[in-house]
Amino acid sequence: MAEDFNASKPIYLQLADRINRQILRKELETGQKLPSVREMAIQSGVNPNTVQRTYSELERMGSVESKRGQGTFVTEDQYVLNELRQRLKKEQISSFFEDMKEMGFTEDEMVSGLKEYISGEERGGTND
């Protein structure tokens, strides 16, 4: 988890994105307590005020809840988690779609290309 951050994009959003993905992958389970701000700062090598900002942002998004005096926890609200999942899916698809369109691919080419990729024909050995 010691990957570098992109130094020209807001770190608080990059960290929020990482944590959201961990929640969706269930590396962080519903109701689980997130590391304290200091622990998270040390783990990810970023400024503690940035981590605080990340936690506030995640709270605003609904993926975590802070309980007074106890810390920050992954939400147990399945509806919110499902929405998060759908939103991230949509964001990813939309950026894929815009990139492909910019390069002049048709919608059919995108769909068939994606299907081929998934069925493994074009996929190299490095998928994760």
Binding site: A7, S8, P10, I11, A41, G45, V46, P48, N49
Partner: protein, 242 residues
Amino acid sequence: MRSGVEQMIEFNQVTKKYRSQAALNDFSLTLPHGKIIGLVGENGSGKSTVLKLISGLISPTKGSVTVDGEPATRKISSRVSYLSELDAYYTFYTVGETVDYYKSLYSDFNQSKAEEILDYMKLDRSKKVKDLSKGNRGRLKIAVTLAREVPVILMDEPLSGLDPMVRDSIVKGLLSFMDYEKQTLIITTHEIKEIEPILDMVVLIKDGTLLKVEEVEELRIEQNVSIVEWMKQVYQDGGMGK
């Protein structure tokens, strides 16, 4: 700068001359509490002079420097912990003796914190300072500087000349052991990439004058630039305008 934040370190129209050469020129700057601040600029731009003035090691030729409203004279060392660019310990001491020595110098020195940092940095207490690698001497300096319970910690080039592994352990060490609710940390460095994720603010100086002060995350949000990119831009503009 945000209002309501108590201002802690203040430079008021400071000029510092060494013989006839000005190292700082009509330099004014106010820095708040509880931040990690990077002081950046070319070689010879006056970074070390700024730190030495805050620590009271040198005094301004003109103008004033204050910490919490108090003039930064030699007495200010009770509030300021300063890590020099140079090696500042006796090489015939062991690591353990160096810690004891610092403890005898400063009443605010927290021995148990120093021990924790030594463990974290994996420093052998029985080893003589002269037998330590350059990296471990760098770590030892960090340990004794961070172990003081003072509101201001100054570090002049703590990463300079150290390999990436050591630099990483020092950056993590700063995050682990600094009391960021009570302490302000000011670092001068050329290793900006390593330090930038942990900075709150960056202060850019050139030829002894202040070019700009920015909140680092705001640079990324508003201008989509890293500190290095921003520095280049500001240097090109000569620091004029926004």
